[in-house]
Point group: none
Chain length 141, copies 4
């Protein structure tokens, strides 16, 4: 058998809070999704005013980050026209995105989950997700 | 224009908490989804130990309850063989369920959202959702 | 080549109006969809207060009626447990329903389109769809 | 609770009419969809001669405009190769388009719905949608 670590709800709720604090400070309401290492939803928060359209996008960003084990924006260059990953966004029924705002969460070098943020600009979404992930990594490693 | 009321995140988080407290008391970890009046996700919690398979089911129960404006288990009798609603579960791409555990949330007689609970037995899911909805209705009406 | 008759928008708008008048008289706001003979949408009206959940259901009822060339409620008996049509509701990606409220529209014995109504009880939906279809048949035949 | 405004059917029908008048003047039959602020269909018209293929596209344009809160054609530049939004069109199960012809409708600075137009060239679709939105904004603000 294999043993794996995964996010508890308590840890996921902390991630939601760190992200929401940052989003509030930036005055950009966000959809925030936290998934476990298997890509399954653990916690979600739609801040008042966040776009309904971006609920699914936040989930997809987190899903791709958990699955790829890297931040979504880091995958983007590999999917440009002419690159080997070209066209990847159509995979997994569209649950593959390279839009910034999906960031994996690690403990002891292993992915235990991911955060996805969406409703602002891609840059704002990325900043919020990275902020929460940074505190997560400092707290749990 | 029309004006309508919908759940704030603060209210949705309270609903999550009331449901989780009940589930903890029953010692049955649950997936708990809270949607707004238009069927869009506002808040989600997977308690440690809840089934990943039931994440989608909790979301679907809440979606059906918000959309039908009645508790999912109340619709079930109308969809039995020979009844007018027979076969309804195949509608809306499978986002139509009559499994107990989806309960609409009302303020002033209007649906403002819904809760969906799934991971225990249907009876347990229904009990948790109804408990949270009851406190919601006492608090916000 | 074959020649076929199909609904004009002008005729579809009349059907919407006849249905909406009946729904208003019954004080049950409805989603009303009118499709052409190929199952494609021609006109749609969501009356204020009709359920968002039933938009898709109204479309599905009309689609099934246009496609089956009979009213949806007439198909229901053939899909009961033990009958040859059992399980049909899962076909066509869920765009097969036997819930009352889908009625085909005929001109000269040929299907030219269909109406689908949803947001009330199945009986109410059926009554509205049949009312509009009746006036259509009197007007165009 | 939060309070929000959304399109009435009466307002949506006006939008359909303004768009159809413009399309008639241009001699380009169109599919015209009007959605509410939550992305749900309120009214639809397929003008005689409009492409069935573009029904879904009109719906998707309106959905994206309601969800993104900007016109679809304005998002296109941000999704070009090398840009942060590259690949966005695969999100939301394909209900994310940057093809011109989706325009949000605002009242008092808040999105209350959107119009989507499709069957002509992208430029023609955009012109029709913008025309209707312009009159809407003059009428309701």
């Amino acid at each position: 058998m294999l043993t794996k670590q995964t996010l508890s709800y308590a840890a996921a709720e902390k991630v939601l809070g760190w992200a929401a604090d940052k989003a509030s400070e930036m005055e950009v309401p966000q959809n925030i999704a936290v998934l476990d290492e298997a890509g399954h939803l653990v916690a979600f928060r739609r801040m008042d005013g966040a776009k309904f359209f971006s609920i699914e996008i936040a989930l997809t960003k987190a899903y791709a980050a958990a699955g790829l084990r890297v931040s979504t924006h880091e995958v983007a260059p590999k999917t440009q026209p002419g690159m080997p990953g070209y066209g990847a966004q159509a995979l997994n029924g569209g649950r593959f995105t390279t839009l910034g705002g999906g960031v994996p969460l690690f403990v002891g070098g292993q992915v235990v989950g991911a955060i996805g943020v969406s409703s602002g600009s891609v840059e704002q979404d990325t900043e919020v997700a990275q902020h929460a992930a940074k505190i997560f990594h400092e707290t749990f490693n």
